[in-house]
């Protein structure tokens, strides 16, 4: 009898840029191929988020116009519930705009400061030029070659404060801010990255890591995922242009 997982996709109708839903497709695929049932609920504006109902929470990135629509709902309406879920060690995956919104604030390049949720001790400062490129990172806690492949497309520079660790070291690309050589953030079971689109499909080790974590938090016991090959993903990883760089 395999475990059952519940995932909450926050604001899928607003935070839906750059193929972020590929991450959910990946989680569902690698769960269902192992007989783990993963159900997805969409929770959007004006709807209640129950912090204890879900094992996983996904927060993607959106266009500015859309992010402005939901920011108030996220920070003031759902804010304390989201923080409660973080405190309960629920597994979060937050990409790009979602990553920024989990932090303390976003300072636009003209100096205007926008308050964000503050679930993580990170902050973002907008600059004019965007990082748009294929990326490769090295992530210590993953098995195998530890390599994460991604694509970044962001103008915000994110900095990590005390208590928050980077997700990975940058081998190719800009990462969080183009300065300190790190990418993403990890706090409790909150995993954040600027790699959008097909982040999890291209990184099955990360997908498996999140699934395993989610089961372990739910059951409170160590869990070994059933074996599952990565032939398809490896083929795609080998074909990536960025693969030749590091």
């Amino acid at each position: 009898m395999q475990p059952k997982l519940k995932l909450c996709h926050l604001y899928p109708d607003l935070l839906n840029l750059y193929g972020d839903r590929g991450n959910i497709i990946a989680l569902m695929r690698r769960a269902s191929l192992r007989g783990i049932e993963l159900t997805v609920d969409a929770i959007t504006l004006g709807e209640k988020f129950d912090p204890l109902k879900y094992d996983m929470v996904f927060l993607g990135g959106g266009q500015d116009a859309e992010q402005n629509i939901l920011r108030k709902d996220f920070v003031t309406e759902k804010g304390s519930a989201v923080k409660e879920a973080v405190a309960a060690n629920k597994v979060f995956l937050c990409i790009c705009g979602g990553y920024q919104m989990m932090g303390l604030y976003y300072e636009e390049h003209d100096g205007v400061k926008i308050d964000c949720l503050g679930a993580l001790n990170v902050w973002t400062v907008g600059e004019k030029n965007r990082f748009i490129q294929d990326t490769v990172y090295s992530c210590d806690f993953l098995p195998g070659d530890k390599l994460l492949y991604g694509f970044e497309n962001h103008s915000g520079r994110t900095y990590l404060g005390e208590g928050v660790k980077p997700l990975a070291k940058v081998l190719f690309g800009a990462g969080n801010n183009g300065r300190d050589g790190y990418e993403g953030a990890v706090y409790k079971n909150v995993y954040c990255t600027y790699s959008h689109g097909s982040f999890l499909p291209k990184n099955p080790a990360m997908t498996d890591y999140l699934l395993k974590k989610a089961v372990e938090v739910q059951t409170g016991a160590p869990f070994v995922l059933p074996e599952l090959d990565t032939d398809i993903e490896d083929f795609a990883r080998k074909a990536l242009p960025a693969c030749k760089k590091p």
Partner: protein, 484 residues
Amino acid sequence: MANVRAGAAIFSARTVTALLRLMGRGATTLPGRVAIKICPDIISVLARDQQIITITGTNGKTTTTHMVTGILETLGYAVVTNVSGANLATGIATALIGGIRVRRRAEKAGKKTVCVIEADEAAFSKVCGPLAPRICVVTNLFRDQLDRYGELVHTQNFIAKGLDACDARILLNADDSLVAALARGREERVSYFGMDDDSMVRNTVTNAPEQGIGKTTTDASYCHFCQTKYEYRARSFGHLGDFYCPSCGYSRPQPSFLVSYEKNREDQMSPSDAGFPITLTYEGESVTAGLPIPGIHNFYNTASAVAAVYSLGIVCKDPELSLGKVVQAVELVRPAFGRMEKIRIGGKSLCLLLVKNPVGLERALSFVSEASDADGMYLLLNSNDADGKDVSWIWDVDFESRTYPEKVFVSGERYGDMYLRLAYSGIDKKRMKALPMEECGNLVDEALAACAEGKCLYILPNYTAMLALREILVKRYNLKDFWK
């Protein structure tokens, strides 16, 4: 002084054109670039006293331009138009300079000339003033290369700026909430085209949207004016449909040019068949015609092309451009290269469908999954500047809820990304073959060999993949100038 400059600009542009032709190259933008350098207002000089129709929007520009051109030529007009893709100021200037001779020839033959100009959305904001068109068509606004253009509302602002720089009649897609919103403050100049609700519902029944893995993305889910979630009485595809805002009351305006399934006949054919019967209605008058180019999105392209030519007839008081004649003429239009054009190779055929963004790819996939002659599907994905460097949009596309031909081929510089997307949609890896771009030609051979006699291989490339592929097709299959 202006005349001297303009004369020099035209002379130089013609010289450049002649040189490029001697070198065996196309002259679609460079002559215009040179002319603009010499005479920055060359577009407004050449556009003076011309009848101009502009077409802009994220999807369907080329097809609509092609349809408007086809209708006008059938009805005895001479047409000056820019080459597909050459839709920035440089390409438009090139077309207008080439148009001087077209016009002179037309005058001798006693024909009137119309300029039909496809304009990139960002370029539109700058060229619309100098062009001073009589008719502006806005096709739709879908997400398209956001890494290059920024946000959809920026694109919308570009178009608004262009519209305010001229006094043209404006034809807007009523079913697109972002496009219809452009009517605010410009009401007296605006007419709408759109699809009727019954046809939308029928279309949605045959192409049920995906259930399960978080619904696919649509743009503009929330009201443009008050940020309340839209409701829909019916949907056609993407965010197009009969929308209304339950809070502020903004809703789909009633289209004066309405396109619909021709009642009682749709059982025998599907909108994926060329010639599928459609009805175009304007102010109570209805005319039935065969859909010139298949695909539900071509309902909109057909409606907007008919609306553009018919409106030009009203503006220019030309009774020849009656609804009946215009609709009859649109039926004769054949696909432009790479836009659903079929090429015969022996007993088999190839069909190229250019796919540049999520909604374009969804339309193409839906088309292939319905095509009865499909035996093989071949996707090519590149990521050059002209394509958008970011290919993650393929994950925004609903691959899951359709069934495809048994054999699926993949190439392009990002063949790994596309292969992974297809595999994750549930297509077994045994059904797929993926090769790097360098081998895309060999893969065409292989795919064609695997295609049964009398059947068709559907090829879905994005922009630069299509350019590369068509050169290869010309060489391999000896298809001389077939896209001209």
